[in-house]
């Protein structure tokens, strides 16, 4: 069968655009000087991401699901793709400000890796064919591994990169092994084969169960949930702050959506998925919350918080599985949670990125002492995003949690919601500690913040994210509608 090039070119043009951009940026250094290449790469990357975002936005207007050969886009994965593209675009645009204080990252390859990573994640979201998903996963992971370690003289960055590589390879190995068992069960590599009137023999079912456990293990690894979450602390800490922000938002959005799409197909064959996911969510909430209390580095604190947030999004999936069959209404709350998570986490990391320089990128908590006096605007935005991470009204985080919890209680998982609220209380402690540090203490005289990072573009993006956080928290109706209509 010939591949339908024209259809794929139209419907999946963002993938082609991003791929073309990567190839262009790879060969750029051959023709122009490296310094010029950085600027040109940034333009190419931002333009490609923006065009891709607009194209997918246009597709999202149509209600129908798209399928071309093995490529498929449901509204759910379109929504997630938009989140990924949005996040990458924000990072690409704010990179000018970040690179002013992090000159060792000023290489054209940075943007190439940014687009490559985005491409990989979009590929994961664009198909039900497991090998294609794996290809995208590896492409994205590769770009993460390299871009994290790009800082030439930073041992912490090298450590983070190596750790991520080794442990990430383990996670990918789980995933690949799961694909193998999937093939053993269904003689096909596509999730489509699980739909409809498919039938499996007893051994086939056994193989399918093993396959799911392994696939889930791989995804839990990448999404940083219990029990494979320890790597996040060191990796988030060592990575350059802007890239940490990028990584945490796009990976969570993608992996959780892929998990949801897989659960949709697997749930009719495998029981007790709600038990599995509620257990993982509960353990991640407790451990993520407790781990965060004792942290003394900001990025590690945010890593623990991202574990809790991923767990809360997982509650929606767990609630969807709780019942006779998969309830697709779980998709809306989870997508809304991913939307608000992207906005607030990206905002927090962007602000932090503007505050650090190459030497101080490890960001101990004491670095932010008295920030409100020296950089009141940035302190305000950081507090806004922190309050949103804590889940307080009238910020985005509140309604995100509320929608997920309402859905979970409706499906009968009241105990999990009670546990999540209890860990929210623990979370309040360390988030408040961070805000108290910024506002109630006097600044450390030995600490100086860089003065040239607050560029118009970066501040515009941060302000936009700040307004979005408040809008999502005060008038969420429209955005809830977006998420719910993407089910």
């Amino acid at each position: 069968m010939t591949f339908p090039w024209q259809d794929s070119l139209y419907w999946f043009s963002p993938l082609w655009i991003l791929a073309g951009a990567v190839l262009m940026m790879l060969s750029l250094s051959t023709f122009i000087s490296r310094d010029r290449a950085v600027t040109v790469s940034r333009w190419i990357a931002s333009l490609a991401l923006a065009v891709a975002f607009l194209k997918y936005l246009h597709h999202w207007q149509f209600n129908a699901d798209i399928a071309v050969a093995h490529l498929a886009l449901a509204r759910t994965t379109l929504f997630a793709s938009l989140l990924v593209l949005f996040s990458s675009l924000c990072v690409s645009l704010s990179s000018t400000a970040f690179l002013r204080t992090h000159p060792s990252l000023k290489k054209p390859e940075l943007y190439m890796l940014l687009v490559l990573g985005t491409l990989g994640l979009l590929m994961m979201l664009s198909s039900g064919h497991l090998l294609f998903v794996f290809l995208g996963l590896e492409m994205a992971s590769l770009s993460f591994y390299i871009s994290i370690g790009m800082r030439t003289e930073d041992r912490l960055a090298h450590e983070a990169s190596l750790k991520y590589y080794l442990l990430g390879a383990l996670g990918s190995a789980f995933f690949l092994y799961g694909i193998a068992y999937f093939y053993a069960a269904t003689s096909s590599l596509s999730l489509v084969s699980l739909e409809g009137g498919a039938s499996l023999s007893v051994t086939g079912l056994r193989y399918l169960q093993v396959s799911f456990v392994l696939l889930a293990a791989g995804m839990v690894f990448k999404a940083a949930l219990f029990p494979f979450y320890f790597w996040t602390l060191d990796v988030y800490q060592g990575a350059p702050t802007l890239l940490t922000g990028w990584m945490s938002t796009v990976v969570k959005a993608t992996i959780l959506t892929v998990l949801l799409m897989s659960v949709r197909k697997f749930s009719q064959w495998i029981g007790n998925l709600d038990l599995l996911f509620s257990g993982i969510a509960a353990a991640s909430l407790i451990l993520g919350g407790l781990l965060a209390v004792g942290q003394s580095y900001v990025k590690r604190l945010l890593a623990c918080s991202s574990i809790s947030h991923a767990a809360t999004a997982l509650i929606a999936i767990a609630a969807g599985c709780h019942g006779a069959s998969w309830d697709n209404a779980a998709t809306g709350p989870m997508l809304y949670y991913l939307l608000t998570y992207t906005v607030m986490t990206l905002g927090a990391f962007l602000v932090l990125g503007l505050l650090t320089s190459e030497r101080s990128d490890d960001l101990p908590l004491s670095y932010l002492r008295g920030l409100a006096k020296k950089r009141p605007q940035l302190a305000f935005y950081l507090s806004l995003f922190t309050l949103s991470l804590a889940g307080l009204p009238p910020t985005a985080g509140f309604f995100a949690k509320y929608t997920v919890f309402i859905y979970a209680i409706e499906k009968g998982l009241t105990w999990l919601v009670a546990l999540a609220l209890a860990t929210t209380l623990i979370g309040l402690y360390y988030y408040l500690k961070l805000i108290a540090l910024m506002y109630f203490e006097d600044p450390d005289t030995t600490v100086t913040y860089p003065t040239n990072t607050e560029t118009t573009l970066a501040m515009f993006i941060i302000a936009f994210l700040g307004i979005a956080t408040l809008a999502l928290g005060i008038m969420p109706q429209q955005y809830l509608h977006w998420a719910l209509s993407s089910q």
């Binding site: 009238p394 919890f405 919601v417 309040l428 108290a436």
Partner: protein
């Protein structure tokens, strides 16, 4: 129903919140402009509230007993609407709020440290408080309830005393625990009510007894922590003592009333059976709180902590009257709550001025100004005495009326509790008069020629005098306010009594 002014309640909220946004745009160094604008905004809110009061007396309520109802779509997906409305209880609390805020702003006129942020936070606090008082939708109520915490947290933590950071975090975590339990209750009730979040609709929905009990515990946790009730009160002495003057005035004067209001607005209509089952244990705890608070206040040396414990004792009386389920006692408790707001505001404001002018924070301080302050600061002495008299319950002050009504109406039903509460009155005389004596009449110990401390300036008198006038006015003419409270609380009491399948111990007059 006023069709001509359908935006009044929104306006009431929008002025302070909009004012805060306006202030944020002003340049930092324009201290005078910032203060003037803040004062103007809060006075405008007062004016609007007075218009609401005027219209309140000439219009009729809607079917459910609420005035100035506004209903707009907000988040239909979650069953939540922008539903506002007031009755007598909320109006009286709104008037207390809009009355105290301009005076608090005036009393903090000299705040020089980060002036802009200070007044922005005060205005946000005012807007959020009014928001709680006018919301008739559960989710909207919760949003404003939580919004109140944030400016209070920053006010205590940035402008407070030496241990402000710990006090602020303790305050937030304690109150937030209650709020999260409240949230769990909201989530459960949303499930049980088929998706509507409207308080009026929820009051009509039928819940099983065990559901009501659970939900009552969850909801009341948030409210009782805020009041505070004895056993859940440990955040309050530290927070009141460490807060800046404006913070203490508003925390003790306004925010604690929000807890009582939450009980009245939400718990009584929705969880009547649970209240019937548990109102006696709550009354007992409240009464123990009266005695405990009074005794511990007596032992205090730091003035602000003493007032914090005194506040605990007085709110115990309010809770006693409220949960006695006697309509007259409930109206009396509502009145006493208003009185407590005014009195505590006056006390904390006076203590704040004292601290500012003489440096006095404890009884044993030997600052150069201590001793015989009645002679050197006569104006403060007089105004502070009015507040002290109201705390004790001397006739002529609103404190007398409140205590009289509450305790005499509670006595027929619950003799021992009323007697114990009356004992609290005696104790309040002990600690308040000794406080007064030690501050104003004590002779200076070591210093032969103490420097005369400056008395209150015109601004400070302008902030304190209206409160004391209000205390005396309400003490001499309480009826208008009492009628307003009675009109809204009597049906509530009747509703709870109607749920009781047993006959009441004493017939309700």
């Amino acid at each position: 129903m006023t069709d001509s002014d359908p935006y009044l309640l929104t306006l009431l909220m929008a002025i302070p919140l909009g004012g805060a946004a306006l202030l944020a745009l002003l340049p930092r160094h324009q201290g005078k402009l910032v203060r003037a604008l803040a004062l103007v905004m809060s006075v405008m809110t007062l004016v609007v509230a007075l218009r609401v009061l005027y219209l309140f007396n000439v219009t009729a309520p809607d079917d459910h007993g609420f005035y100035f109802v506004e209903l707009r779509s907000w988040i239909p997906i979650l069953g939540s609407f922008y539903h506002l409305g007031i009755d007598g209880t909320s109006l009286s609390l709104i008037l207390l709020t809009v009355f105290l805020f301009p005076l608090t702003i005036a009393s903090s006129w000299k705040e020089g440290y980060r002036t802009k942020e200070f007044f922005i936070l005060l205005l946000v606090l005012e807007g959020a408080t009014i928001g709680v008082l006018v919301s008739l939708d559960l989710l909207l109520f919760y949003l404003f309830w939580e919004l109140v915490l944030i400016p209070a947290f920053f006010l205590v933590g940035t402008w407070g005393g030496k241990h402000r950071r710990r006090a602020a975090i303790k305050f937030f975590i304690f109150t937030a625990t209650g709020s999260l339990l409240f949230l769990l209750g909201i989530l459960v009730i949303a499930q049980l009510s088929n998706g509507t979040m409207d308080i009026i609709a929820l009051a009509r929905s039928s819940l099983s007894l065990s559901q009501e009990r659970w939900l009552f515990v969850l909801f009341a946790a948030a409210f009782l922590i805020k009041v505070p009730i004895f056993l859940l009160h440990t955040w309050s002495p530290d927070t009141y003592a460490q807060a800046p003057t404006a913070g203490s005035i508003l925390l003790a004067g306004v925010l604690s009333k929000l807890g009582i209001y939450g009980l009245i607005r939400l718990c009584f209509p929705l969880f009547g059976h649970a209240i019937l089952d548990w109102h006696i244990p709550i009354m007992i705890i409240a009464t123990v709180g009266i005695l405990y608070g009074s005794l511990v206040a007596w032992a205090q040396v730091k003035i602000k902590r003493l007032l914090a414990y005194a506040s605990l004792a007085h709110m115990g009386t309010v809770l006693l009257g409220l949960f006695s389920l006697d309509p007259t006692a409930m109206a009396g408790a509502g009145f006493y709550m208003l009185n407590h707001g005014l009195t505590t505001a006056a006390l904390f404001m006076g203590v704040g001025f004292l601290e500012r002018n003489t440096g006095l924070t404890t009884f044993h301080a030997h600052t150069s100004h201590s001793g015989n302050l009645a002679r050197t600061m006569p104006v403060l002495a007089v105004l502070f005495f009015v507040a002290t008299a109201s705390t004790i319950g001397l006739p002529g002050t609103s404190g007398f009326i409140g205590e009289l009504i509450t305790l005499t109406a509670t006595f027929p039903h619950y003799h021992w509790l009323a007697i114990a509460a009356a004992l609290g009155i005696v104790l309040s005389a002990v600690y308040m008069l000794s406080l007064y004596q030690r501050i104003f009449f004590a002779a200076s110990a070591n210093i032969a020629q103490p420097e005369p401390s400056p008395d209150l300036g015109w601004r400070e008198i302008a902030s304190l005098l209206p409160i004391t006038i209000a205390i005396v006015l309400l003490g001499l003419r309480p009826n208008p306010v009492l009628k307003m409270l009675d009109e809204s609380l009597r049906p509530l009491a009747a509703h709870v009594h109607s749920l009781s399948s047993l006959s009441v111990r004493n017939p309700v007059p």
